[in-house]
Amino acid sequence: MDLTPRPSEPAKKPRKWLPIILLSLVGVGGVVIVTQFLRSAIDYYCNVDEIGIRSGCEEATRLRVQGTVEENSLQKIGGKTSFVMTFNNKSINVVYSGDPGGVFQECISVVAHGRMIDDTFESNRIEVKHSNEYAEKNADRIESSGSAACSQAQG
């Protein structure tokens, strides 16, 4: 049997570019996530009582501030929503340009994005921070207290 190599060159298999391209994109994506987002994610917000005290929570800068919407403080006038936000017995007045909508209500934790201007926090974005508690909606309890979150907070 003749098993000597054939004279003709075997056809070269084309290089598989898709995994290489995908791996490059993954590398770029990973670097972008770490450099652009992870740093700001670690210090996502300042608590109300840290404004002007903690490093990175300076009043002159744009802030993300976390606190609880105080009961009986919520007012909606002229397309603006105002409320008192509290954390660790420290409160600030917040004015939001619009209606936060969704599950925003009194006694719920929120993160407000904005700036401190003359002792009022002027916000243009509100994010509701949900707790890790889940309870059945009880119509009677809600009607008696006015806010589901206040009802849950009171137990």
């Binding site: 049997m1 098993l3 995994p19 590398g27 992870l38 949900h130 889940y134 309870a135 059945e136 849950q152």
Partner: protein, 250 residues
């Protein structure tokens, strides 16, 4: 390759059929209970129902990536370097990436309804995005050129490094200040504050998704085996053809 696939046994066995049928039953219960029987949440209302898919899919993604790391370590440690470990690692990572994608999509929908935003670069979401991208990278590494042994070795190293991200993702809400809520079930205090039927449905979802995961991994690793056999058979066929050619020229 098609010849091999045509003459091979199907990827299903009696065990996978039992697992598949059980998964269908459990998932049917999760759908009925999640959509019809469980109550609305006092704050979230109807959107709480997303939790019955979001949380189990996140847990199963973690499980899949841990399983990938264990199978990879087994391949590296074992003297025989059985390719079965490598195929299980690859199959589990593929299914894990699918469950991670489901986690991100359902979480994004829930975020829009609760936070008011589809996405925020908070610690949990940022680390989860990084984990997702890492495992897409793992799958790309598996498709690089080289022998099956090279594939197994490269991907095993990546899998054992990538799995270290899971504790970071899970504890990101504890270590850092996160918009995402802390763990309800696996919280450090052990005090689970959840309605009983909601909790039971959530656990049913975990059981159902686990069965789906096992079923998918078993089928996928068998299709990977068939592909490896087909690739090896290509070489065997070439040798047989050459021998036949040699015999004819005698």
């Amino acid at each position: 390759m098609s010849q091999v696939l045509q003459h091979s046994l199907p990827t299903g066995t009696r065990a996978t059929r039992v697992i598949g049928a059980t998964a269908i039953l459990v998932m049917a219960w999760v759908v009925v209970s999640g959509l019809l029987l469980t109550p609305q949440d006092v704050v979230q209302g109807e959107s709480v129902r997303i939790m019955y898919v979001h949380v189990p899919s996140a847990w199963i993604a973690y499980l899949a990536f841990i399983f990938t790391a264990v199978a990879s370590a087994s391949w590296l440690i074992s003297k025989k370097h059985s390719m079965g470990f490598d195929r299980f690692a690859g199959a589990s990572a593929e299914v894990g990436v699918m469950f991670m994608a489901i986690t991100l999509v359902t979480g994004s929908l829930w975020g829009r309804l609760t936070w008011g935003e589809f996405w925020q670069w908070d610690p949990r979401l940022t680390t989860t995005a990084f984990l997702f991208v890492t495992y897409i990278g793992y799958l790309a590494v598996r498709r690089l050129e080289g022998s099956v042994e090279q594939r197994a070795r490269r991907s095993a190293v990546v899998a054992m490094l990538a799995v270290l991200e899971i504790p970071l993702v899970h504890f990101s809400v504890v270590i850092w200040r996160s918009l995402h809520q802390g763990a309800t079930v696996l919280n450090p205090s052990g005090d689970v504050k959840m309605d009983d039927l909601m909790l039971f449905t959530l656990f049913s979802g975990v059981v159902g998704f686990t069965l789906v995961f096992i079923w998918l991994v078993l089928h996928r690793q068998r299709t990977m085996l068939l592909v490896d056999i087909a690739n090896n058979q290509g070489l065997d066929s070439a040798i047989v053809a050459r021998r036949a050619e040699g015999s004819a020229n005698k």
